[in-house]
């Protein structure tokens, strides 16, 4: 971990994403090993090059999460039992989730017959971890429906919905798209197709 990754890139924490990317590009070009072949400073440059890369990755990771901050799902870093009456297998599930072994967590979960709100909550986290984001969303919703007052479940559902909302808000206008005219849309696409002589409609 770099204490102040912004300082490494020579920018302020309030910089936009594009400003960060520009700074990263400039510095990684400046310290690129290719520019220091047979140069006594090559070790120093390489160290600097790696540091720039690390700083960039760190900032992007910090910024990615938005709602959750660290980019990982779940309200806290580690998961523990939701109650005393849980099946013994759940201990393994928590261990797997806490160590990022999501597939293993899903395997154990699928062997448990009694599907409580807690089960759906854990399943949502594990599925999100391996990119089954639709399943994750559904299971988080089920957990909330089963136990509406549980802040941990609500929190997870909000986190899973957050990116979808951000994406929609980022889109132009956020409402209707297309020219509003199908023929016109087709014509636009067709204009591009002409390069290979294809009428778009033949491509379908």
């Amino acid at each position: 971990m770099i204490a102040d990754p912004y300082k490494v890139l020579g920018i302020s924490p309030s910089s936009s994403n594009d400003e960060i990317k520009k700074a990263y590009r400039e510095l990684s070009r400046k310290y690129h090993p290719d520019s220091y072949v047979d140069n006594p400073l090559s070790d120093l440059a390489e160290e600097k090059f790696k540091e720039v890369q690390e700083a960039y990755d760190q900032i992007m990771k910090q910024r990615e999460g938005g709602y959750s901050g660290d980019g990982n799902y779940g309200s806290q870093g580690t998961y523990t039992s939701g109650g005393t009456d849980e099946p013994i297998e759940m201990t393994a599930v928590y261990n797997y989730i806490n160590t990022g072994h999501y597939r293993e967590a899903i395997n154990v979960l699928s062997s448990i017959g009694n599907r409580t709100a807690r089960w759906y909550f854990c399943s949502a986290i594990a599925n999100a971890g391996i990119g089954n984001n639709y399943e994750a969303l559904n299971h988080a919703q089920t957990a909330v429906n089963m136990e509406p007052g549980n802040p941990e479940y609500t929190n997870l559902l909000n986190q899973l919905q957050f990116r979808g909302q951000t994406y929609q808000n980022t889109r132009y206008g956020g409402g209707s798209f297309g020219t509003g005219n199908l023929c016109c849309d087709l014509w636009c696409a067709d204009t591009l197709c002409e390069c290979m002589g294809g009428d778009l409609c033949r491509c379908f």
């Binding site: 992007m60 132009y172 199908l182 390069c195």
Partner: protein, 292 residues
């Protein structure tokens, strides 16, 4: 005609067109640039693989070229060529080593698609096409074994899902997501994890919208479609839009982490708007059908 979505997804005209620009929001200079990348790919396919290669020319590959060119800031050559198909017109082309890569990958997808066609239908067209492509494919496989093996494996997994009529959308579409991931990993370097996630969700998006487009036809012809189960729900349209939305949300969240500055306007135009053009027009068509 392919009987499976795996085949359909790789077919020039079927999968293709989903990852496209949204012209009304694109600056003219960016539009011409996009076109030049597209024509550059067309020219490269022609040079490397003859007119056969061009059959499979696709917009999605143009996107791959622009994205990787932006990420690696590859040196690009600008040329003006007479277009083979429109000999009277002259076209700008933009080409670099990523164009070569995309052309090779295009051939790999075509090969698997034709092979799939032949296995499913024993179609002569598929068979002769595959034979023609065999040598080219083998050569590319030697050069890019990871990609070729990965794509082959993913397509096999997809076939298994289809055979068992799997209706879990995440599980089916992730096969295609993994295929796209192998395709987009041009170099195994520091960007691999981000690029992998990015293309994984883009691939899921493509697979699902392809299934969305084909649903009515697949039901009519009693073919597999992963959306059959949820299409019985009243909330089907809304649900599909939500699924597609969360796929692009994850995809773009990864994109924003890549230091892509070059042609970022084109890339964002595609990722935030262009990918929706097809969906919107399909929804509009459905609405018109209901009204009439």
């Amino acid at each position: 005609m392919p009987t499976s979505n795996a085949g359909a997804a790789c077919q020039g005209g079927t999968m293709f067109g989903y990852v496209n620009i949204y012209k009304p929001e694109l600056k003219m200079k960016d539009f011409y640039k996009y076109k030049a990348y597209y024509c550059g790919l067309c020219k490269t396919l022609k040079d490397k693989y003859g007119s056969f290669g061009q059959i499979t020319l696709t917009y999605d590959m143009t996107f791959l070229i622009i994205l990787l060119t932006s990420l690696y800031e590859s040196e690009t050559t600008h040329e003006i060529h007479r277009c083979i198909v429109h000999p009277v017109k002259k076209h700008d082309t933009l080409r670099n080593k990523i164009t070569e890569y995309a052309a090779d990958m295009n051939i790999v997808l075509t090969y698997y698609h034709l092979l799939d066609d032949w296995q499913d239908d024993k179609s002569i067209a598929g068979f002769t096409g595959t034979k023609l492509l065999n040598n080219k494919f083998n050569k590319i496989c030697k050069k890019y074994p990871r990609q070729c093996k990965g794509i082959g494996n993913s397509l096999n997994q997809l076939k298994e899902c289809e055979k068992s009529n799997l209706q879990n959308i995440d599980l089916v579409s992730r096969c295609f997501g993994e295929l796209m991931a192998e395709l987009f990993i041009y170099k195994e370097d520091v960007w691999e994890p981000t690029l992998r996630k990015f293309s994984f969700f883009l691939g899921k998006y493509i697979y699902i919208i392809d299934a969305y487009e084909d649903l009515a036809e697949d039901i009519k012809k009693n073919r597999y479609n992963p959306l059959k189960s949820i299409s019985e729900k009243e909330s089907y349209e809304k649900e599909c839009k939500n699924i597609l939305n969360i796929m692009m949300a994850e995809c773009t969240s990864e994109f924003e982490k890549l230091p892509c500055l070059l042609d970022a306007d084109i890339l964002r135009n595609i990722l935030y708007e262009g990918v929706w053009t097809k969906f919107e027009s399909l929804q509009k068509k459905k609405l018109e059908n209901i009204q009439n």
